[in-house]
Amino acid sequence: MIDHAIITGTSDMGTKVQIKGIREGLLVTLGEGSWDELHPQLLEHLDQQAAFLQGARLALDVGSLVLKAVDLGQLTKEISDRGLALWAVVGESPTTERSTQSFGLATRIAKPAKEGSAAYADQAVLDEESAVLVRRTLRSGSSLQHPGHVVVIGDINPGAEIVAGGDVVVWGRLRGMVHAGAQGNEQAVVCALDLSPTQLRIAGTIALTPKRRGKPQPEMARLQKGQVVAEAWDPKRERL
């Protein structure tokens, strides 16, 4: 169910080149330094990771570095020689922006931390036990996907979706679509202060929310004998 890995590569210690996955492909971030110093490091990095990068679309974040048109021209050629495509260069300097535009490349990428799954790309670890914490409301159309657990402080509005490899905890109203244990984990649970999702999935089981009677209350949904069962939180009961 997770349709893209969130972290696709990390850098070795000591190098100033970082590569990570974003929705549009890969984002290559350069650290501080001069172009003469960073340029060979970047190429070396690309060569090292050649097998992993093959055919990727790259966006380059050069930070405050001033990238001249000549250098960029050379770089685009070097990148395409390696079978990769450079589509965007992001930088703070107007010179960089101008040279980028002169090559017809984008100067902006969809801002991470703003919409959907691209937001969690800078998460440092990637394994099923990791969790992301999201402190905002997910509105219709936004999608949050994570191989580990997901914790949201805010609402999940109808039309928004969460797909998690592990558990999903929502401190707020859950009214969108939620899929916990998306890779088949039947032990996964979904908790929310107001559990009224349009659709709730745990592992391979799909359930609709029954009409609520009375006031919303904190609930936890999990699989019991192949059925999704939601139970109100009870301080006296022992569980899990």
């Binding site: 509105r139 609402d155 509005n157």
Partner: protein
């Protein structure tokens, strides 16, 4: 003088963007401001029809952007309100004729001349929406008390936040108080709870809107219309005035209360 750019948008079509743009424009102009209404719906223009200025169009937005005329030449002065102008959209082109940076440039040219620049956004979230949103200082999202319109408004508000245009402001249009009372329509409180943005207007459903739209005279100029008065209140809130909300439930005292709110502020 640096004008404020207000973009009126909704996501879903048919909720009343164009009507709201025309009426807010007319109301702001009636309060003594210089206002330019820009039709962002290239290819499906109708702000000109609603404002009753269709037959005066010589140049349009695309002509300005492509340099075939000066901005002034494309500004059509309203029949009744001398401080109200319309920049119509081209009908024979499509959204790709204009880019977001063209819109920013156009509005920067209008800002020194006008107090308010209202942009009527097309439905959808594609190029036309991006164009309309690019120069905005304030984004007004129009919705109706129905599930699909509210869902789209939620998406739009998210996109506006992502564009860093600040929190959107909400107008709920076509409210039928008796239907809400019977529980057949989404309640205003439920909509606000879901969308969680600042509410700046509640507009009751009113037949006079349809007749005035067809006639090409903004309903705000009709002193008897409930919807017209609601639009005037929204205009005043956009002018940073504090105006209490109308009580939608109270049908009987509704009208008398409205007139009282309007008169003292009418600067």
């Amino acid at each position: 003088m640096s004008g404020k750019v207000i973009t009126v948008t909704s996501g879903k079509g048919g909720v009343g963007k164009t009507t709201a743009t025309a009426n807010l424009g007319a109301a702001l102009a009636d309060f003594g401001h210089k206002v330019a209404c820009v039709d962002g719906d290239i290819g499906l223009r109708n702000l000109d029809v609603v404002m009753g200025l269709e037959n005066r169009i010589v140049y349009d937005l695309v002509d300005v952007v492509e340099g075939r005329c000066r901005l002034r030449q494309a500004m059509i002065r309203d029949k009744r309100l001398p401080e109200l102008y319309l920049i119509p959209a081209a009908q024979t082109r499509d959204k790709s004729a204009v880019s977001p940076s063209d819109m920013v440039r156009l509005c920067d040219e209008l800002r020194p001349e006008c107090d308010y620049i209202l942009i009527d956004s097309p439905a959808g979230i594609e190029r036309g929406f991006r164009n309309a949103i690019a120069p905005a200082d304030i984004v007004v999202v129009i919705t109706n008390p129905e599930v699909s319109a509210v869902r789209d408004a939620d998406r739009i508000i998210g996109l506006v936040e992502a564009e860093e245009k600040g929190p959107a402001r909400l107008v709920i249009n076509r409210i039928k108080p008796d239907m809400i009372r019977r529980g057949d329509m989404l309640a205003v409180d439920d909509i606000i709870e879901l969308l969680a943005v600042q509410l700046i207007g509640l507009v009751p459903d009113d037949d006079s809107v349809l007749t005035s739209t067809n006639r090409g005279t903004p309903v705000v100029l009709d002193g008897k219309s409930k919807a017209g008065l609601a639009f005037r209140n929204i205009a005043r809130r956009l002018m940073d005035e504090e105006v209490p909300f109308l009580n939608m439930e109270d049908e009987g005292g509704f009208f008398s209360r409205l007139t009282r709110f309007i008169r003292p502020g009418g600067s």
